[in-house]
C-alpha cells in the first residue's frame, strides 16, 4: 500500500535472516529515511532493538527525531487436528519518530503522521 509521502513495507523474516546485525540496522534506517513504515515478521533480538534505539538517538537533528517501535500481536485460529486453538504471532512495527503508532484493545493498528499524511492498516 502506498500513500503520498509514506509507504508501508512488510518484511518477511526470511528477508532479514541472511543479513548481519549491522546490515539489518542499516536496512531499517535506509527505509525509515525514505519515509517507509516497516512491519517486520521477526520482532528482532533485544540487542538489535537496542541498537536501533541508540543509533536513532545518536542521529538526532532538527530533521530526524528518532524512530518509533511497537510490537503488535496477531492471533490466528489453528485448523486441522489442533482446531479450536489459537496461535499468537508477534510483529514489530518501526516508523519514523514523528509517527504515532496506535494498537487498540480491539487489535486494530494505525500509524498516523502529523498534518494530513496518515496511513491506517
Amino acid at each position: 500500500m502506498t500513500i503520498p509521502g509514506y509507504s508501508i513495507d512488510f518484511i518477511p523474516a526470511s528477508r532479514l535472516n541472511s543479513l548481519s546485525d549491522n546490515e539489518i540496522v542499516d536496512f531499517v534506517f535506509e527505509r525509515i529515511d525514505n519515509e517507509h513504515v516497516l512491519i517486520l515478521e521477526s520482532p528482532l533480538t533485544p540487542q538489535l532493538r537496542l541498537e536501533l534505539t541508540t543509533r536513532g538517538l545518536l542521529r538526532f537533528s532538527a530533521d530526524f527525531i528518532g524512530i518509533k517501535m511497537q510490537f503488535i500481536t496477531i492471533r490466528t485460529e489453528i485448523s486441522g487436528i489442533f482446531r479450536g486453538k489459537s496461535k499468537d504471532s508477534t510483529l514489530l512495527v518501526i516508523a519514523p519518530g514523528n509517527a504515532e503508532i496506535d494498537h487498540s484493545e480491539d487489535g486494530d493498528v494505525s500509524v498516523k503522521f502529523p498534518v494530513s499524511e496518515s496511513v491506517e492498516a
Partner: protein, 193 residues
C-alpha cells in the same frame, strides 16, 4: 503515589537477596513523566531532607543521571548501603517541537532535546552497572510500546552478563499526571508478572 513505608518494606524484602552484600545500587528508570524523580525525591527527602531532582510537567526535565549515595537500610540485623539513581526518561524519539508548544523558545527546545537524547543513551548504558532496576511505567498506556521493548531488551542482556547481581523489579504505576484508569493491556501485563 507510593508511600515511603511501602517503599521501605519493599527494599527490606530485597535486602534478603543481599545477605552477603553490603552495597547495592537501585536505578529508577522508565518512560518520560512516569514519576521517577517524584519517587526519588520522596525517598531523598526522607533520608537527607532535600530533593534529588527537579520535577516538571514538561517532559525530559531530568536529562542526566542523578545519584544519591549511602541510603542505609537495616533489616533483621543486616545492613544494606544503597545508592539510589534517578535517570532521564527513556524515549526513542524526541520531538523538540513539543517543547516549543509548551512555551520553551526554539533554540532552548532544541538544546533540551539534544541533552535528553544524550541522557537517554547514558541511562540505557548505565543499566549495565546497576544491581536493581526499578522500571516505572504509566499504567494508562500500553506496556508493549517501544520504551518497554528497549528496557526489557537491555535488562535481558544485562541479566546474562550479571545473572547473580541484577534483580529486576517491574513496577507499573499510574502516571502522576494522569487520572485515567489503567489500560486493559496493562492489567494483563501486570497479571503476567
Amino acid at each position: 503515589m507510593i508511600k515511603t513505608a511501602k517503599w521501605l518494606l519493599m527494599l527490606s524484602t530485597f535486602s534478603r537477596f543481599f545477605s552477603k552484600t553490603k552495597q547495592a545500587s537501585v536505578c529508577l528508570i522508565g518512560e518520560v513523566n512516569t514519576g521517577k524523580s517524584t519517587l526519588a525525591n520522596r525517598i531523598s527527602n526522607d533520608f537527607t531532607g532535600s530533593d534529588m531532582s527537579a520535577v516538571s510537567t514538561i517532559a525530559h526535565e531530568t536529562r542526566d543521571i542523578v545519584k544519591l549515595e549511602h541510603v542505609n537500610f537495616n533489616s533483621e540485623g543486616k545492613k544494606l548501603d544503597l545508592t539510589l539513581v534517578d535517570t532521564p526518561g527513556i524515549a526513542t524519539a524526541i520531538d523538540y517541537k513539543e517543547f516549543v508548544g509548551q512555551g520553551i523558545p526554539e533554540d532552548q527546545a532544541m538544546q533540551r532535546a539534544k541533552e535528553a537524547t544524550a541522557g537517554i543513551i547514558k541511562a540505557i548504558k548505565f543499566l549495565e552497572e546497576v544491581d536493581i532496576a526499578v522500571v516505572m511505567m504509566d499504567a494508562t498506556k500500553t506496556p508493549f510500546d517501544q520504551v518497554s521493548l528497549t528496557l526489557m531488551g537491555t535488562l535481558e542482556m544485562n541479566k546474562k552478563k550479571k545473572s547473580l547481581w541484577l534483580t529486576r523489579l517491574i513496577f507499573p504505576v499510574q502516571s502522576l499526571n494522569s487520572s485515567r484508569a489503567p489500560s486493559r493491556s496493562t492489567k494483563s501485563f501486570r497479571s503476567q508478572l
